[in-house]
């Protein structure tokens, strides 16, 4: 049995925010590489949507009473609470589709659990996301139906189930307390219901699972992406005289 680690609702919301931010970035990276012009535009639009959603989620942390973010987030990529699936840019369209269909929908299912839970700030602020996410779901489901490689698909399912948490952990406790309307089993069931299929057989070693980062594998986002998140990458493109002008 996995002991309760004291992970709180703000921790879960921060994880959701970090994952939405990374999902938005990875979508946007495909805005010029998708199989069609319409898919390019959809990738950009979904990227913008999810980046906006992450900002709303970050904004919920203070009203929830405890912002778990520390100064380590400025220097340590491993302090971000994203899934391993987002650690590296995607190189195949199948990875995009699997993330869109499975992981984006998993995040939406968690948002549903927050909106229909007992915490007022989440009920009100997250509701509109569900309408926008409907179109992400239609996009992912349609592309999934056209067929993708099983590797990325199975990986996305595995990480979604890990992200929902162990049967007796923090999400189960938050469900018992009424803050979430669904626990891990219900979240998985809802995801399977949305995808109209059972999840593939998965083995999760909950002893190795990081309850704060909600992932079973070590690692972090790549240095280039972390630099972009911190706004440092843009400075590489500034002309040499810009710093001097700024100083005078």
């Amino acid at each position: 049995m996995v002991a309760w680690t004291g992970v709180s609702l703000p921790d879960l919301v921060l994880s959701l925010a970090d994952n939405k931010q990374m999902l938005g970035l990875r979508y946007a990276e495909w805005a010029t590489r998708a199989p069609s012009l319409e898919a390019d535009i959809a990738a950009a639009a979904m990227g913008l949507d999810d980046l906006g959603h992450s900002r709303v989620l970050y904004g919920c942390l203070e009203p929830l009473g405890a912002d778990p973010r520390g100064t380590e987030r400025e220097s340590d990529a491993a302090s971000l609470r994203n899934l391993p699936y987002f650690d590296e840019p995607w190189t195949e369209w199948s990875q995009f589709v699997a993330a869109n269909a499975i992981l984006d929908t998993a995040f939406t299912v968690m948002i549903e659990a927050c909106v229909t839970g007992s915490v007022e700030v989440l009920q009100h602020r997250l509701r509109k996301m569900l309408m926008e996410e409907r179109y992400h779901f239609l996009h992912g489901r349609s592309w999934l139906r056209s067929g993708i490689e099983t590797g990325p698909l199975n990986r996305a399912w595995q990480e979604a189930i890990e992200w929902f948490g162990p049967p007796d952990g923090d999400t189960a406790r938050l469900h018992r307390e009424g803050k979430l309307s669904m626990g891990p089993a219900e979240l998985r069931g809802r995801l399977e219901e949305q995808m109209e299929t059972k999840a593939p057989q998965t083995e999760v070693d909950w002893k190795q699972w990081d309850a704060v980062r909600r992932r079973g594998r070590k690692g972090a986002i790549d240095a280039h992406t972390f630099g972009m998140l911190r706004g440092l990458e843009e400075k590489k493109y500034a002309p040499p005289t810009a710093a001097k002008q700024a100083a005078t």
């Binding site: 069609s36 319409e38 959809a42 639009a45 179109y135 239609l138 996009h139 349609s142 056209s146």
Partner: protein
């Protein structure tokens, strides 16, 4: 004309209709190409986001019944 065809294979063309306010009628704002209605809805919403439409709808182009075309009246 180059003979370029936008729709090929199993792709279907959908006309996109929208309106900004309830007092105005739905009008065509463009079209999208997709293999099914789900993807067409996602593409229409993403592509035609220049206004805060109060309503948007898509119709398969082949389901539009033309009474007459320009020059035929």
């Amino acid at each position: 004309m180059s003979g370029y065809k936008r729709v090929s294979g199993d792709a279907i063309e959908y006309e996109v209709f929208a309106r900004k306010t309830r007092v105005e009628p739905l009008h065509q704002v463009g079209s999208v190409v997709a293999p099914d209605a789900d993807l067409a809805m996602a593409y229409a919403r993403a592509t035609y986001d220049e206004e805060r439409w109060c309503e948007m709808a898509i119709v398969r182009k082949e389901d539009v019944i033309h009474l007459w075309s320009p020059g035929q009246a």
